[in-house]
Each structure stands twice: as C-alpha cells, then as structure tokens.
C-alpha cells in the first residue's frame, strides 16, 4: 500500500481494572476508526469497558541505548525500598 494508515497504540480498561493498559497497536485513518477497529480487534472476548487510542507518533519514548544511565543508578540503593522499618505491634497486620 502506497499510503499506509497511521499507527495507533490501543489502551483498554478491563472489567475490574482501575487503569487503562496497553494492549497493542493497529492502523486506522483517524481516531474514530481507531476506536472502532480496537473494538473489533481487541475486545472480542468482552475484555474492556473503555478504550483509549493514541497516535504512535505522539508517544515520547526513552531511548533503549540510554537504559544504563537511566536505570542502573537505582541498582544498589536498597534503602529506597521501605523494608528497614520496625513495625510496632500495635499496627497489626500490614
């Protein structure tokens, strides 16, 4: 196809989910048809109660090559996990 439809990322909020989750992508000429197509492609088994469609080109993404500088510094900082507190007995089960 010479003029491919733009790509859309599809997010669906499930029956009991609180937030929309990324389920995949599809092609559509505009937002309205992106949602229609998402209904047919991704909710055939009653997966969702709400659909978001976002143009893939509108998503800003971090670069995989910067993975090291972005995430590795968090490696040796166990104190960032709240596991070093003594929980008073009065608090009960947390």
């Amino acid at each position: 196809m010479s003029q491919e439809w733009p790509l859309w990322e599809i997010f669906i909020r499930g029956q009991h989910g609180m937030s929309h989750r990324h389920v995949g992508s599809l092609h559509a000429p505009d937002a309205e048809m992106a949602i229609r197509n998402a209904r047919d492609v991704y909710t055939r088994r009653k997966e969702g109660v709400s659909i978001w469609a976002v143009r893939s080109t509108d998503i800003a993404a971090s670069s995989p090559s910067e993975k090291g500088p972005l995430f590795d510094p968090a490696d040796s900082k166990v104190y960032r996990h709240p596991t070093f507190y003594d929980i008073p007995d009065d608090v009960g089960h947390m």
Partner: protein
Amino acid sequence: MTQTADVTASALDEALVQWLLRIGDTSLILGHRVSEWCGHAPVLEEDIALANTALDLIGHTQMWLGLAGQIEGKGRDADALVYRRDAMHYRNLKLVELPNDDMAITVMRLFLFDVFHQALIEGLTQSKDPRIAEIAAKALKEVTYHLERSSDLVVRLGDGTQQSHDRMQAALEHLWPYCGEMFWSDAVDETLADAGLAPHPDRLREGWLATVQDILTEATLKAPEGRLDVHLGGKVGRHTEHLGFLLAEMQFLQRAYPDADW
C-alpha cells in the same frame, strides 16, 4: 378446543416456520458471504471486523433456524436445515446471495441490509411470541453496531476519493433493484403481522428509504431512480444462479461425510 381452532393454530405454526426460514436463511447466507473475506480483506483491521460481523449473523442463524426446526417438529436442528437443504428450499433474500465482487459491493450491501435489519429486529423485540422477542433482544445490540459501522463506511467511501466514490455509486446501482424484496410480502407475512408476531415488511419501507437517503446524501451518493423491486423470489425459493455455488462450498463437508464432527 374446536376443530377450527386447531387448524388455525397449525396454520400459524406453518407460516411461522416459513417466516423463520426466511429470516434465518437470510442471516446465514449474508454471514457466509461476509465470511468469505476472512483472510482476504484489504487491511487486517477490516478483515477482523468483517469476521466478527459474519459470526454475529451466523449466531443469529443458529437461534432462528433452531426455533424453526423445533416448531417444525420433524427432528431437524439448525445444522440439518443449513447443511441438508438444496437451493430451492432456501428462503433467503436474493440481495444477500449475490457475490461480494469487491469491497464497495460488500460494504454497500451490508449497509442497505443493516438499515432494514435493525428496524426489523427492533420491531421483533415487541413480538407477542416470547421466543421471537427473546432472540431479537439478544440480536439487537449486534445489529445496531453493524448499522453504525456500515453507515460510517458508506459515508467514508462515498465521500472519499473519486475512485471510492464511483465504485460505491456503481455498487448502489447494482444492488438497488434487489432491495425491494425486503419489503415484499405474501400470506406468510400477513399471518405473522395479523397475529402480532412480526412487523409487516411493508411498514418498514418508509423508514428504510428515509435513513438510506440521509446517509447517501452525507456520502455524496445519489439514490438510483429505478424501481427497488425488480428481483424478487428469494423468499419463495426462486434464487439466482449464485446460491447453488455458495451452497456447494458451504455444504461440501456434510454432503461428503454426513454427520462429520470435530
């Protein structure tokens, strides 16, 4: 019970079976035609959407023909009715047996039928026969979505490029003379309408014309001036040459290996 009342009851059942075959066969044959796109549609998203529509229609068929077989009382279930009848015993509208040819005809046919189908199913939810009303209630949401989708596509393609516009207009001219059969009626329809079981087909004509006209205008397409009711006969078993080929493919497995199962 007097004898007359018995005769009347069985006459009503007879008409009901014919009527159920008509609506069930129409869903089945259109469903089959739409399913022929599976794996062949121009884009993946449309392929899946068409397959969903086909499955909806075949689901309705199961309910309509299941009820037909039950009332007929000859031990035929929906599968027996679908796989073991020849073309002359089929009662579907001619409109739905025509080949797909291209996306323009596929989409335009779905639209012209969906407008009628949605009004019919909505009317049937008020049927005095609870079995009919129940099936209609189950089908209504699907049929409403079908109409939403097909009318949207008609507007997009009609008011699209010069090529898509011309092809949609050609599809409309091709299908128009088959549309009148949706509103054609005989004693079967009269009997059902008099008993409050189904809306009289004639009563759906005006609403259909108005909705179709609205969408066509939005799609910059022009309703043909010719008659709607040129090609009739499907409802009484007179079909185009296309139905036999469709059945040959659809019924092959059960004809070659009766009762094959998996």
